[in-house]
Amino acid sequence: MMLEETKKATYTIPVGPIHPALKEPIRLALTVDGEEIVDVDIFVGHVHRGIEWLGMNRNNPIQSIYVSERICGICNICHPFAFVMAVEHATGITPPPRAEYIRTIIAEMERIHSHLLWAGVAAHEIGFDTIFYLTWRVREEIMDLIEYVTGNRVTKAMFQIGGVRRDITEEQFPRIRQSLDYYKSLFDQLKRVFLDDKTIQMRTKNVGILKKEDALKLLTVGPSGRASGVPKDVRQNQPYAAYADLDIKVTTPDILTGTVVGDVYDRIIVRLLEVKQAIEIIEQCLEKMPPGPILAQPKTALLLKTLTKAEGEGIGRAEAPRGEVVHYVRLEAGQSTLATWKVRAPTYVNLMSAPTILKGMQIADVPIAFASLDPCLSCTNRIVVTDRATGQKSVTDYEELHRLSVEKTRKLQR
């Protein structure tokens, strides 16, 4: 009798919603049988700030650009990018070609910094802090470049409906090229560090597998989807801005390894290759950038008047570092705010694949597997382990989970 009860005993581990290392809170309830995860439930909404409501009730469309920039601290280019495109589609305003190229350059700079940030976090999650420090030191170069081009490291305020607010001039090109050359010279080293290291391979290969069919059904986008072989990249499929002039190919892991497994290792490959691709895109944009104005309507008051009179709807899609961002906007004549604004961030859909990925894994693999999705809101502080059979409760925290992960790495290294 006792034996049977022990067999059925499972633990429920709530993970989150506060996490000191990552940006935003989320709660995962992991049901575990011993070390193995048997079920996962997700709770979001801890930081729902009603941003769409502000755009529909308080702000005019130009003010909404700045609010959209603050949807996410890391993707603060792709959200205004998709938003201004949606408004442009709704109103018929066409940005000048030079602005399209500047937008593309800034968006790719963001991709480089975001992927490097992720690579550092991933190394930290498996207890490889040397690589974490190395990657984040290397990342400083792109942050400096972003500051040089836009005037700010984080919120760049570059976007305006019908163009961009700051130009990139000829005199700035050498400084930009210098940074790109720096990354090109480093690429082989980064590739060696992340892909050839035995410990990283042991912790990431065949861990957190997401099959192509599951990825398609659960609508996974971005590098997480592409690592599973889903050929989805807006820059290739439905190109916007200067991407429409460039011949961009979807990055899947088989370019490097010949096969698609869909594990954490494949997600590292995709992100590393995309850093290289981003450098190439910026170089091409610098070469091809046409002269001309950067704004369709430089006078903000006139632009606002046009927007208030405008009627229509539009959809803007941009490929963020984490996947596709979609903004839907509807404008009504005579209304100073947006009539409807709907934002779809990539993590919104990518989260749905977390249960599939985590099921059947060990608790020590949770940090790296969950972080491999690069969720823009993330996990793991107070962990309450409840033994259902005995009703026993023990409380651990993020450090404990992290310690488990590091311990596993050390064990494998021996």
């Binding site: 979001v44 909404g45 729902h48 009603g50 769409e52 409501w53 529909m56 009730n57 308080r58 589609h89 066409t94 070609p97 399209e100 190229y101 398609l216 059904k217 659960l218 609508l219 996974t220 986008v221 050929p231 989805k232 807006v234 290739q236 499929n237 439905q238 190109p239 916007y240 801005a241 200067a242 429409a244 002039d245 011949d247 961009i248 190919k249 979807v250 091809k288 046409p290 539009g314 959809i315 899609r317 596709e324 979609v326 839907y328 509807r330 009539a339 409807t340 709907k342 779809r344 919104y348 859909v349 989260l351 749905m352």
Partner: protein, 179 residues
Amino acid sequence: MELLSPEKIIDSFKTALGDGFIDAKIYQREVALKKNKFRSIWVEVKQSAFRNAVEHICYLQKYPHLAIISSSDLGSEVELIYHFTIYYGYHLEELSLGLRVKLLKSDLRIPTITDLIPGAIFTERETQEMMGVEVVGIPDKRRLFLPEDFPEGAYPWRKDEKGPPSDMLRVLPGRKQKR
């Protein structure tokens, strides 16, 4: 897989839906220097033909990508747009497809599509709690973003009396209370 042109896609909707088809339009604009086209299709269908329309999209593209459901309060009715993308994986060929369906406020019900597209669950849950549209047959009825203590029967995106109660809204200095 055969890639249909936007016009042919609309024709195929007309044949598949018959009476249920209301209207469709194609939006396109030229982008950057090479003037490649950015194209999107907007199809409006009747509430009764909605399931058939989604099944037809699944026929056009195996595993269509559902980006999001957007919803607008239009006064006497609520408009839902299901934003799909189809024909991904091909350079310049992908299309955005907005499937529009208008529901009368006296009958705010829409069938679930999670059996066809399992990943639709989050956006269906969000539409249900934010707009008050009942998703019939949804496998997970819980709220997604709203906290448990948010009042029942109030829906943040509604612009009528079912919107968020006025004592929950902070009024900015110099502005008047809306309701």
